[in-house]
Symmetry: C2
Subunit: 496 residues, 2 copies
């Protein structure tokens, strides 16, 4: 796997200078083409300490327009970063379309930072699977991922660290951890090997660079980047983007889907008297208030998503939930059409930015399910990508679940007559009129198409770790109580 260090990968300064000059023109032209083709590019560097990651990055990016890339030097997480899923701070830094994110250490180093020590291959397995999913989700979305591993021998690493230590200008760069790692060179090498082996995928290959000779290393990095950009650009211009293979929603076999009924099989007219409502509401309110303390103390992150027909009462239900919570421990995220920044990235990106920290509650008023609802119905996104989204969303929620989050998802359902009544009521009530838009009427015309999309959504994303709750909402009182009860159930199950 790793390049043989006995063999010499030498290069003279003259040879390097010549390549460098050529690359300067080539890479800067390629960058302009990447911008024009709107390809988001991730280039990450991993490798032994003192293997020359900084040098590699410096010489590479000199060829790029600095307005088109960012370099992220990732170190161990601190502060609030420790209270988010460990992958989140990498996700936050993915590039927008046409931009390049260069990572000096990446999620591969991130993997080891969240642990006491290097883990055996078996323990690591599930985390690496998660990383592979993460990378595959990006490449499926059109991202290009280049992964470089810079390799030097034990002897060479020792020589370089010693030299840095000797000069007082550079000695501070060598940390205790570096020296510790040098001691465990062989163990580390085995670790890297196994990680690379498992995560070397067709969509995101590793490039292992022999870094004994700095000229050879720098030239290799530049040439490989140019080559990969060329291939990506070529693909981009030759593949027909409008493949109209509609297909069916795809979900990987590893997800067990729970049994789901269709919306039309629900009895949406569940009633509740005002009296019963008052009594239950005050009970549930007290319970949730108390539980919020324990959620905080136990550092459990909670994610609550609301979807539903227009005028089904999402807002009202969210208010009732919010009332029982300490305002310092939750946030409501209204989700509307994505901004230009959000549109230029993977569709799950904006939700990653809004995840709660541990012990907090994030309430989403509309969610990532917009992908398989409005985007599917209105054709904002190619159908092929929509069909992949069911699986991607399951993967996303599984990641949240593994992190420790409680996930509660509501579909607030009303029938067509009830919606008409509510629309009319809104029209006739001055302080509610703002809630009703032209779009609501347009959506109503597509009632059946939406209902199909909802049925598919419920069917293909109803998992044990992130189950759907359909809330029969023709009666607002009944609906609000069911929402509160469902949240309480989910939390109590965990806290017991």
């Amino acid at each position: 796997m790793l390049p043989d260090n006995k063999k010499s990968y030498q290069m003279s300064k003259e040879e390097y200078d010549e390549i460098k000059e050529r690359m300067k023109v080539e890479l800067s032209v390629l960058q302009q083409q990447v911008i024009a083709a709107k390809i988001p590019v991730i280039i990450l560097f991993e490798g032994f300490s003192a293997s020359g990651k900084g040098t590699a990055i410096s010489s590479l990016i000199l060829n790029f327009d600095p307005r088109g890339f960012n370099v992220y030097s990732m170190r161990e997480p601190v502060g609030r970063e420790l209270r988010k899923p460990w992958i989140a701070r990498f996700v936050e830094r993915i590039p927008a379309a046409g931009r390049i994110s260069v990572f000096d250490r990446s999620w591969y180093s991130g993997l080891t930072w969240v642990r006491e020590e290097i883990i055996s291959k078996e323990d690591l397995h599930s985390d690496l699977e998660e990383l592979k999913l993460f990378e595959r989700q990006l490449t499926d979305d059109g991202y290009l991922i280049l992964k470089f591993f810079l390799h030097i021998s034990e002897k060479e690493q020792k020589r370089r660290l010693d030299r840095l230590l000797m000069d007082k200008e550079t000695a501070w760069r060598v940390t205790k951890a570096d020296l510790e790692k040098l001691k465990n060179y062989k163990k580390n090498l085995r670790f890297y090997k196994s990680v690379i082996e498992v995560t070397d995928c067709p969509h995101a290959r590793w490039v292992i660079v022999n870094a004994q000779n700095r000229y050879y290393m720098r030239a290799t990095v530049m040439q490989r980047v140019a080559e990969e950009l060329r291939v990506a650009l070529h693909k981009c211009t030759t593949v027909q983007p409008e493949q109209e293979v509609v297909g069916k929603p795809y979900v990987s076999k590893k997800f067990t889907l729970l049994h789901t009924r269709k919306i039309q099989d629900y009895e949406l007219n569940r009633e509740m008297s005002q009296e019963e409502y008052n009594k239950k509401h005050s009970e549930l309110n007290d319970k949730l208030q108390k539980l919020h303390n324990r959620i905080y103390l136990n550092r459990i992150p909670i994610i609550i998503g609301f979807e539903g027909n227009d005028a089904a009462g999402k807002g009202g239900s969210i208010r009732r939930v919010a009332r029982s919570l300490d305002p310092r421990g939750y946030a409501v995220h209204p989700i509307s059409a994505p901004t230009s920044d959000e549109l230029a990235r993977h569709y799950l990106w904006r939700f990653c930015l809004r995840l709660p920290v541990t012990g907090h509650i994030a309430i989403f008023d509309r969610t990532w399910y917009g992908r398989v609802l409005v985007e599917r119905v209105e054709g904002f996104t190619p159908q092929v990508r929509i069909m992949q989204a069911y699986n991607e969303i399951n993967e996303f929620e599984y990641m949240l679940h593994k992190w420790g989050a409680i996930i509660v998802k509501f579909w607030m359902a009303i029938d067509k007559e009830e919606q008409l009544n509510r629309f009319k009521a809104r029209e006739n009530t001055p302080e509610k009129r703002w809630k009703l838009t032209e779009e609501d009427w347009r959506n109503r015309e597509k009632w059946d198409i939406y209902e199909n999309a909802v049925d598919d959504m419920l069917r293909y994303t109803n998992t044990e770790f992130a189950p759907w709750t359909v809330v029969e909402s023709n009666s607002k009182l009944y609906a609000r109580i069911k929402v509160l009860e469902t949240i309480l159930d989910a939390v109590e199950k965990r806290l017991i």
Copy 2:
């Protein structure tokens, strides 16, 4: 100043319930009007521990649509927050137009978190001045700021903390710091009094609420918020927004402006031979490379801004600077038209988000001076606000300076003929053609109007702590060397 605690501010549950019902309707209607009028609203709560800030916030926000506000519970800064100006994390959370940000503890608490202990009135003075500027900048921009201080007596505070401590469900809420503060109640009271006295300004008044009785306190908070929202909405609809008092650039007397020449008085044809360039460039490059280490070790933040005529060579110069730097220690921020999120907030907000951490370098390709250049020339912003911007920008840069930042600002100047030559060269070079847009030609037609704006900018924002450097750029070689030398000078001056 603070309300007399001997007097009783009592309220019965019945009285409160009645007010609460009334406020429910009133506040929710007012919020809709705030959204329609696009007023950004900040409501902050300060006060003794256990004075009921959480309760006050809970009962207030129940009246609002949760999709229109955020609650920020601010605690002591950690991690990277400590490497930004202390006010930055508050700035990041200012609301967009039509939204409400509620702060549970605010910049007033922030003031004390960055210090070992409470400081004497004199020491505090300059920090409070900075806070006042911050608030005034926001209100000048149309923000509404409501500041609540919840006041309880020493006896009452002790009683409340004791009660919390007795119940094991709530005991964790009482921190050592709380008990410490109780011991120093009188000293703290004096401190709060002096802070409130200094920062009670017409544009951002304090409301001191007697919080001995929770009903009274909650009712008062709701009523005051409603009142202030009504006043703000009234102002909004009656004041003529299009006051065409053009006026002159305004700069407060406290800023000493350095002497500045007009652009036309510069000799833009400064030459440099390729030979001299090569020699100097390699020297400067080496120096900057070494200094970058020391900048990092000394934790100095550096902010470099590039402005200039179209095609003056900003990009080329930025590349030359970037080449001498460790890519892990700097970031280039290209600034173009603001996104919708950015447009909905104060114009300096997006630059606050891009400040470097200590020890890092932020290079801005175009800057906050867009306010007094393109926005002034194209009339994107009312002239009254533009004329205030010179002073606001000086205040902003002064804040950065006080934080410890080195600020370097370049105006890259070429003459009209040279620009024409460069435009034509770009048209004729395929790999450079993307650089030239229709807009460049349109801007060129307004050459004289732009030059006036540039002269005003140089004249009114040239300060000792953030001086302008005009770079004669008809010769690219000369310009690049001057840029590097200027940066080196500024850094060396600080490091010696």
